[in-house]
Subunit: 252 residues, 2 copies
């Protein structure tokens, strides 16, 4: 695609007949960065991507939503992950936070320039904050559902702490995205460790997990989770996943 005038429309097939969402987002991010968010019009994005103005609104909802489109996908992934994790709520919440951080680190091409835009524009800042609030609410509900409704205060505090810890590490990376990812993960581990300590203070009730939930995948969805050392090679990873999937014990 690239240039100002070049179009993207590729084939006429059902799967990808239109400019891919990611391409649109990347083009929009580029325009926002170069011309400024306000100065960039939806018509400009339409011209740059070959998607009509009307379809942009239909597919993304609003100009801001273009910036956060893939973020929404990440969010729903995390929510489904939580829904499929009945055991060890605090551990699952931390794993979910790890998932979010991973989502950012995964494609700096979008998240880093978005961070710069967000810093410069209060309106976008609010939007970003709203996203983290959605995570926080999801974590809070998840933690509160585990124990009785009576502990919603405690769940809210732990969720807020976890989100704050996550955001702290995330921002440290966003400010210097070229640093060694291992440092980032080390900071993340230290941060979640802090949260675990506070959670111990908050949640002194030892008993939990009154799970009789036969409906972990209520919507007919299944979830596969693999935790592995970062330096695992792709082939090795795939080999182990293949082995694990072959074992019905592993993936409910």
């Amino acid at each position: 695609m690239a240039g100002t005038g070049a179009r993207a429309r590729a084939e006429g097939r059902g799967g990808a007949s239109r400019t891919d969402t990611r391409e649109v987002v990347l083009a929009a991010v580029r325009l926002f960065t170069e011309d400024g968010f306000d100065a960039t019009t939806m018509e400009g994005i339409a011209a740059a991507t070959g998607v009509s103005r009307r379809s942009l609104f239909r597919r993304f909802g609003s100009k801001e939503d273009i910036l956060f489109a893939e973020h929404d996908e990440l969010f729903s992934t995390v929510v489904r992950f939580l829904e499929a994790s009945p055991d060890d709520p605090l551990g699952s919440a931390c794993a979910a936070a790890r998932l979010v951080l991973q989502g950012y680190l995964r494609d700096p091409e979008i998240t880093v320039p978005r961070y710069r835009l967000v810093r410069a524009h209060p309106r976008l800042r609010d939007r970003e904050v709203a996203m983290t609030a959605r995570y926080q609410a999801a974590f809070s509900r998840y933690l509160a559902a585990d124990r009785g409704e009576r502990h919603s205060l405690e769940a809210g505090v732990v969720a807020a702490s976890l989100i704050a810890a996550h955001n702290h590490v995330l921002r440290s990376w966003l400010r210097a995205p070229d640093q060694d990812p291992r440092e980032v993960w080390a900071r993340f581990d230290a941060a979640t460790e802090l949260v675990r300590r506070t959670a111990e203070t908050v949640l002194d009730t030892p008993e939990r997990r009154a799970t009789g939930d036969p409906e972990a995948g209520a919507a007919g969805e299944s979830v596969l989770v693999a935790v592995y050392p970062s330096d695992t090679g792709r082939d090795e990873l795939l080999r182990r996943i293949t082995a694990a999937v072959g074992d019905p014990r592993r993936t409910p």
Copy 2:
């Protein structure tokens, strides 16, 4: 200026020659509640208050900002309070949170209907969330300034906990604003007590992280999550995972 209905313009003095801000907010809240937020136009508010459409934008910035106008005043009050409280940072932060809660309880005439509007409208919800984030950031900065900059993580966690506790109590009141305020304050005290306990855990840092533990426990781990329809065949699943892992953007 006199629009359709009764007008307010009172005297011709410098202090209050125009319709008071609070009157405008109250009228707007009434219109929002009766006609719906989206259905209420700035022209309608202008007609109801006797303030021209143009001046409404000048004085409030946007339609949403009318709803949160006095909230901004509360915020700056709290910030000034913090700036004037060099001693006992945690206690001052709790006192500041008390101030915020007090600000809500003080005039339910605005805060309660606003809460209902906020619950119904995602866009307003985001705006409200952004407000609490501003408080959280202010608390965090305040707490971090006290001790060294190194403890910004701890400060952020404590601030988040405090905000979460405050919001928990606040919502409990907003859902039933007629209850005895003493109950609300009792809940607030209990909640801040919880925060103090967690803060003790967080802020006393005896050792921790002198080690460059690059491999401690979860350090350097990655997570792969795949969500898929339950009836996906194993081969199809593996094929898709392989494809995803092959794409560095998807799963590192």
